[in-house]
Amino acid sequence: MSTERMLSPPTTRRKIKVLVAKIGLDGHDRGAKVIARALRDAGFEVVYTGLRQTVDQVVAAAIQEDVDIIGVNQHEGSHVYIARKLLEKLREHGAGDIPVVMGGSIPVVDVEVLKSVGVKEVFLPGTPIDEVVSKLLRLVEERKS
């Protein structure tokens, strides 16, 4: 974290808005909260939808909030199934253009599977926050252009 925590001037332009979500029966939200806070400190607007959400609830929140990116945190092994369903539902609702990233306890062998399904980035345990921030910024930039 930067040592120069200056008061920043207000701006008119909207910040990057990210949805941090946990889907299904997974009660471990420490990681999601750490990420949410780190992204806040990086200047993002973070919408956190809380524990035990359905895919439909997350899609609805992403659409109503018009977020720039969706980050899903999973620790219980259903990440591939959830990713597939989430991306399918997003497309169904005309929101297939919102990039989805994932993080959490995900086996290395599943990274490529997730990417082939359409997940843009997968952050494994131990990924430095700076790397997460810069990759998210890049994804948002790519989508704009």
Binding site: L7, T12, K15, R40, V47, G50, Q53, Q57, H93
Partner: protein, 323 residues
């Protein structure tokens, strides 16, 4: 820069119930300025007389959970409900955690509910302008109840409250005595007072304090309306029906006394004021930046430079024609 056709197509789709289009439209309105002001005019002309409800009170009083409970009752009555929740922007990083929505997520997939979170970030009343613009959009698109939730601190948020038809002030046990409640601010302008978390000890004491303040009769905004004090508990689902009844009664009162029209007029007046200010600020910025770009990169005489720019800006501004 967003094109007129794009905004119109969003409005058209949103009218047909496309939530993706409505979400996008709200993003355009979040940064409304000279270029998109026409969209506001268009939306305002299609107003369907929504009941705008402001909910304010100290952080942690349980406003979001209470709103979530109230949505359930309102939906059973057949109303379409929109919620705008405002959370603070960090003054350090300018980022924000928008956490109000998670208390209302049970309604996320309900086709008759739309929830949008915004932050307090924004230049000089920008928050008020974007919130007012969103209210106009929800009103035009047929939402019967538009609920605006703020933490009730800061000038711009008090300003937003003035755009509401009904103001609900939420407090909780242990939040302070009657002197606290008598203090000036948003507490003065409540139409309905709520003591939430009334399942907790000391709730009756807080209730009595609020009752004392409310019954004194010198708070509240309008003539003969007597602000009720209601005990609620979102956890137990207690007092929610009473709260919704009070909302309905207040709306009836506003309609009967002709105040509903007056409140719409004052909401629109506020919109005019904020939009005019935004237009001036927008053009001011353009002119100042043009002057700044002419500046030499030397290190001295900054006072004179600032003065020169201020003068040039002022002169140009007087002659400026805002489109």
């Amino acid at each position: 820069m967003v094109s007129r056709d794009y905004v119109l197509s969003l409005i058209e789709k949103a009218e047909k119930g496309d939530k993706r289009a409505l979400g996008r439209l709200l993003t355009v309105l979040e940064d409304v300025g000279s270029e998109t002001a026409w969209a506001l005019e268009y939306l305002a002309s299609r107003s369907r007389g929504a009941h705008v409800i402001g909910v304010t009170g100290i952080p942690g009083a349980g406003k979001s959970s209470l709103i979530s409970r109230a949505i359930s009752v309102l939906r059973r009555k057949g109303y379409r409900v929109a919620v705008i929740t405002i959370d603070p922007t960090s003054p350090l990083s300018s980022g924000a955690i928008l956490g109000d929505r998670l208390r209302m997520q049970e309604h996320a997939t309900d086709p008759g509910v739309f929830i949008r979170s915004v932050t307090t970030a924004g230049l000089l009343g920008g928050l008020s302008l974007s919130t007012l613009s969103m209210i106009e959009a929800f009103d035009a698109l047929g939402y019967d109840k538009v609920i605006v939730e703020t933490v009730g601190v800061g000038q711009s948020e008090t300003l937003i409250m003035n755009a509401a038809d009904t103001i609900v002030v939420v407090t909780m046990p242990g939040a302070g005595d009657d002197v606290q409640a008598l203090k000036a601010g948003v507490f003065e302008i409540g139409d309905i007072y709520v003591v939430n978390k009334s399942d907790k000890p000391e709730a009756s004491k807080t209730y009595e304090y609020m009752l004392f303040v409310a019954e004194k009769g010198d708070i509240g905004r309008s003539g003969s309306w007597k602000p009720p004090v209601i005990k609620t508990s979102s956890t137990l689902g207690m007092g929610i029906r009473e709260l919704v009844e009070a909302l309905e009664k207040h709306l009836e009162y506003l309609k009967g006394s002709g105040e509903k029209k007056l409140r719409l007029a004052s909401r629109r007046k506020l919109l005019v004021k904020l939009l005019a200010e935004k237009m001036v600020m927008d053009s001011l910025k353009t002119v100042t930046e043009a002057e700044l770009s002419k500046l030499q990169d030397d290190l001295e005489g900054f006072y004179e430079k600032a003065l020169r720019i201020a003068k040039a800006t002022g002169e140009k501004l007087v002659n400026l024609r805002i489109q």
